[in-house]
């Protein structure tokens, strides 16, 4: 028996002259869309086109938190569908995604924050999502090392506790989906930069890349932080701004933290990986940028906020700090579906700081929309034209720092 296979996870190919579907961006969203198109709808003549390597974008840079305790009914329903798909994905892909449903706590340090968490708990429960408010005693039991005393500047008053939330191995998700796509004959083209589209009337005829031009019946933009650049090439306008989001990881420690801790008031979140490292994330940089460089002020902010929660970590060293680009929308909800301006140009963008957890549902239902030509109800609220209709999906309170 061979313990480790020499087989490649995915192969490289020459570009063909045409495909049924060309997907720009081979992050978790592009991959999930291709995967469900192939698996559920038998559409396999697909090219995934990515200018970088697999995981170059936010899919290889996120903090891998999954949860479904959002604020709006539209959001809760959608993210819960994604969580359910993730629960079955390791088995389906025959690939261990190391999904640990260790529980997720969103801390409230002020009356206003706690009121917001209560609204979420009620909405979550109505929609069958395990989510409730707990007080400092229960928080202390779940997280023995967190500082629940009155010593911090903003003492912890309560938390929104979401037991099915947790962390997954993000690289494994990307690689597992890539392998599954490859096995279905879907082509993954890395180092393939899209530089333009040939548009005729209301149709994108072909995609122009640094490796040549390919025709496609349907084109999908799944480039997250770079979504505006691709839309501009197709002549489509987007209500998106790109901001960097930073995170860091400490040296490994013995396991002591078995839950994801988020504090919107402190602009920080913390979890401990299976390797023992603490992953600490921040809020977005306060300006638009495409630069993926970390900054010292953000590192200081992450460290000082983490110490408010866990003062005993003061001597722990940071190993790495990094940034990814996030595509922020006005209502902190994604933009999924066909663009009004063109008949065969679909977007799966606006994933901001929270899109990793959404990928299976976004991919599954966008695949259905592409295959059937009908928009499934679950993604209809996120249609690109909702801003024109002034029908926004206010998710800010549950998505801004919470991931």
């Amino acid at each position: 028996m061979q313990l480790f296979s020499n087989g490649q996870m995915w192969r490289s190919h020459e570009l063909k002259p045409s495909y049924d579907v060309a997907i720009v961006g081979a992050g978790v969203h592009g991959l999930a869309t291709a995967y469900y198109l192939g698996r559920l709808f038998g559409i396999r003549k697909i090219a995934l086109l990515d200018k970088g390597y697999l995981g170059y974008g936010a899919s290889g840079r996120n903090t891998a938190i999954l949860r479904s305790n959002y604020r709006t009914p539209e959001g809760v329903r959608f993210y819960n569908a994604a969580l359910k798909l993730y629960e079955g994905l390791s088995a389906e892909l025959e690939w261990n995604l190391m999904f640990s449903q260790c529980g997720h706590l969103t801390l409230g340090h002020t009356d206003t924050a706690v009121a917001g968490l209560r609204v979420r708990a009620e909405t979550n429960q109505l929609l069958g999502v395990d989510s409730r408010i707990i007080g400092p005693d229960e928080i202390q039991k779940l997280v023995p090392h967190i500082d629940c005393s009155s010593a911090p500047r903003y003492p912890i008053m309560a938390a929104l506790y979401h037991p099915p939330g947790g962390i997954i191995r993000h690289d494994a998700v990307v690689w597992g989906l890539a392998r599954a796509c490859d096995r279905m004959g879907i082509e993954i083209h890395t180092r393939t930069e899209v530089t333009g589209f040939r548009v005729s009337g209301r149709k994108v005829e072909s995609v122009i890349t640094n490796r040549g031009e390919v025709a496609a019946d349907t084109v999908v933009n799944a480039t997250a932080g770079w979504a505006s650049t691709i839309c501009k090439m197709a002549g489509v306008s987007m209500p998106i701004v790109s901001h960097p989001l930073q995170a860091c990881v400490t040296e490994p420690l013995k396991p002591f933290l078995n839950a994801v801790i988020v504090s919107a008031s402190l602009h920080v979140y913390v979890n401990q990986t299976g390797r023992g490292e603490l992953v600490i994330g921040s809020e977005i940089d306060p300006y638009q940028s495409y630069s993926m460089k970390g900054t010292l002020p953000t590192l200081e902010q992450m460290a000082s906020s983490a110490l408010e929660l866990f003062p005993q970590l003061h001597h722990i060293r940071v190993l790495r700090q990094w940034a990814g680009i996030c595509d922020m929308t006005p209502d902190f909800a994604p933009i999924i579906g066909r663009c009004e301006e063109l008949d065969n140009f679909q977007v799966d963008v606006g994933w901001g700081t929270y899109g990793f957890k959404a990928a299976p549902a976004a991919g599954r239902y966008l695949a259905e929309a592409i295959a059937t030509g009908k928009t499934p109800d679950i993604i209809a609220p996120f249609a690109p034209d909702r801003f024109r209709r002034r029908q926004l999906v206010g998710e800010k309170a549950a998505a801004a720092v919470s991931h």
Binding site: T229, V241, S289, P297, R388
Partner: protein, 95 residues
């Protein structure tokens, strides 16, 4: 290189002294159609390259200025007050 902005009043400072005010937009005239308001309210150029933006020097002279910046490297090419006047040397003692 760290991200610095040359304030026309105070000189070159860390970007963290400033508050980002978004892309410079042209407000539609009263009575403009819905499409114009949709673009003004929601759509952004979000340039991967050079764009003109508002910045407020909150830990300095507390004035709004405009900067031309390359968003790929956070390099500010030019910063000036919106009325176009060069105000590098006001010397009014008021800031």
């Amino acid at each position: 290189m760290s991200f610095r902005i040359p304030c026309p009043q105070c000189g070159e400072r860390s970007a963290y002294e400033f508050r980002f005010g978004g892309e410079v937009l042209t407000r539609p005239q009263a009575g403009a159609d819905d499409d114009a308001w949709y673009h003004y309210s929601f759509v952004r150029r979000n340039e991967m390259g050079i764009q003109t933006e508002w910045w407020y020097h909150r830990f300095g002279c507390r004035q709004w200025l405009q900067a031309v910046r390359d968003t790929r490297a956070n390099r500010v090419i030019r910063a000036y007050f919106p009325d176009g006047k060069e105000q590098t040397d006001l010397g009014t003692g008021e800031s």
